[in-house]
Amino acid sequence: MNPQLIDESARLYDAAPCGYVSTLADGTIVSVNKTLLDWIGYVREDLISCKRMQDLFTTPGKIFYETHYAPLLHMQGFVREVAVDLICKGRPPLPVLINSARQNGRADGSVLIHSAFFNATDRLRYESSLLNARRDLEGEVKKRTAELEAEISERKRAEGNLRELTSKLLRLRDDEQRRLARELHDSVGQMLAALRMNLAIIENESGNLTPQAAAALSENARWTSEISAEIRTISHLLHPPLLDEVGLTSALTWYVDGLAVRAGMKINLEISPQLARLPEEQELAIFRIVQECLTNVHRHSRSKTAAVRLVSLPESIRVEVEDQGTGILPEMLAELRSFGSGVGFRGMRERARQLGGNLDIASNMHGTIVTATFPRS
């Protein structure tokens, strides 16, 4: 080669606007250009053959060199754009970007690694401002997430409390209704029976009464019978004794027949023949749900017909109450479905939930259907 050109390329090597280092495979420096020496404040003799490239890095860079840089060089023969800080004599560390490439196939069989260093002071400055912005943002997101999580858990707790309260209320009401039903039957009912017996004794003597007194007496006897029947109906609606004594099927048949007469409705009751007796609390829950639904149908739907179906499935029991009424307004339906607002609906849903089941409602302008499903215990 032309000696002038060699001279020129040596000058270019030394004065290039980037640092050059060539090393052996283990990092030992075999050549370094003046640009890099000037940057870090060393002379050539400090480095050649006595320092490795990684010795120029600050500690994190040294760790990174061993865990990432060296393995990458071995595996892919080059490394691109690694940001490290160089230790400088009497000056703070200098941020640089390094590209390295391996030169194989040299005449003596050795391997050389050539690396170019680029001053990255400004780049690092805006990178760290970006990084700080990202960290601030992440901190903000974390904070907000924590706040939201706290809010959610507070809401969940409140919901849990509400559910607990609802179920406690339901239990109290069941107990209270059962107690009232028994009281009405046992004490008022017994007193009315005694009254009727006394009236019968007097009626036997009615020949001794004036015709007006005899008529009043027989009217009293009729009233007493009606009051007895009324009290018995109220007592049985509060808590049907059939439910405890014979079971859900009889209790529902009795209830549906009675309501059909009282409300002037046609109610179709279908119960799977396979449905055997269920646990007491399940029978009570199903009875109450059907009762609540049919009361709603009677009060709100303007439907003159309704169907109640109890379907026995292998894993569960499904209860459906359907009417052909005017339906529930969409916005109210949405509220019912999401929050279970309305004491009656919330109560039904809670009864289903307590026994591991669920309850859903669907409605349009042609009618409404409530479906409750209970797993077999």
Partner: protein, 256 residues
């Protein structure tokens, strides 16, 4: 032979070493969660809060693949992960080959792990500047197409591709875990391969490990640095083979 890569890159690290054992052993390679082609969705901060979570992964690999008489080869932090796994299920492992092990990277009184807490904090900041082989635009493409390796080849430095947050977490767990108290619990025989001039796991640390592991032997290597299986695969293979043969003859003489 089950090979576990260390902190930094992925199972590709073993590619110069495994061919030497393929005839005699079934070779099992894997990527730790967060590295290589692992399923990032499996990462959990709580499971991997200590090295025990990574050891559990090793044991799950063993049980899922029905591996018995395992020779476990672990590099760097995975050497300790192997020790922890073999303490939990000693019956599973025949021998451990520990390349550059360190039970604790920090200095503590007379124990010289090599680093201070500040150094490690500096490393975590440093990692934020070097998300090697990771770009948020490319990563989902690569992760969604494990069958198209050419996609990941488009990214330079892809062998060290690790999801940045997981990488930082792994660095923290790796460099701050103190497992010195676990060493005496290991019953499985082990071979320690100690490089010359290893700044990650220096000689005194290798000697410390050797002193506290019963039934261990320490082989000092000519290779320098922290990755002899890449920089000096022949020496690493030869020492490993010698260690395995020695173990085999010891076991035979025990049986006699």
């Amino acid at each position: 032979m089950l090979f576990a890569h260390g902190y930094g890159c992925d199972q590709n690290m073993w590619r110069l070493m495994t061919p030497a054992f393929e005839d005699e052993y079934k070779i099992v390679l894997f990527d730790h969660v967060g590295a290589g082609d692992s399923d990032l969705g499996s990462f959990s901060r709580s499971r991997y809060a200590t090295l025990d979570g990574y050891a559990k992964d090793v044991l799950e690999i063993c049980s899922d693949l029905n591996l018995e008489n395992v020779v476990f080869v672990g590099h760097s932090v995975s050497a300790m992960i192997g020790v922890l796994a073999a303490i939990v299920e000693p019956g599973r492992f025949d021998q451990l080959v520990l390349i550059g092990p360190s039970p604790y990277y920090l200095n503590d009184g007379d124990y010289r792990g090599g680093y201070s807490r500040d150094d490690i904090d500096g490393l975590l900041d440093f990692l934020d500047r070097n998300h090697l082989g990771w770009s948020t635009t490319m990563a989902p493409v690569i992760m969604g197409n494990p069958d198209r390796p050419e996609l990941s080849a488009e990214l330079a430095n892809s062998f060290c591709r690790t999801e940045p947050e997981i990488a930082k977490h792994f660095a923290r767990v790796t460099f701050l875990s103190d497992n010195r108290a676990d060493l005496p619990k290991l019953k499985t025989p082990s071979l320690i391969l100690q490089c010359a001039e290893d700044v990650i796991a220096p000689l005194p640390v290798g000697q410390y490990v050797h002193r506290h592991l019963k039934n261990s032997s320490l082989a000092l290597m000519k290779a320098t640095g922290h990755c002899p299986h890449l920089s000096a695969p022949e020496e690493t293979v030869a020492l490993t083979k010698r260690g395995l043969a020695q173990f085999e003859s010891e076991r035979k003489s025990m049986e006699v």
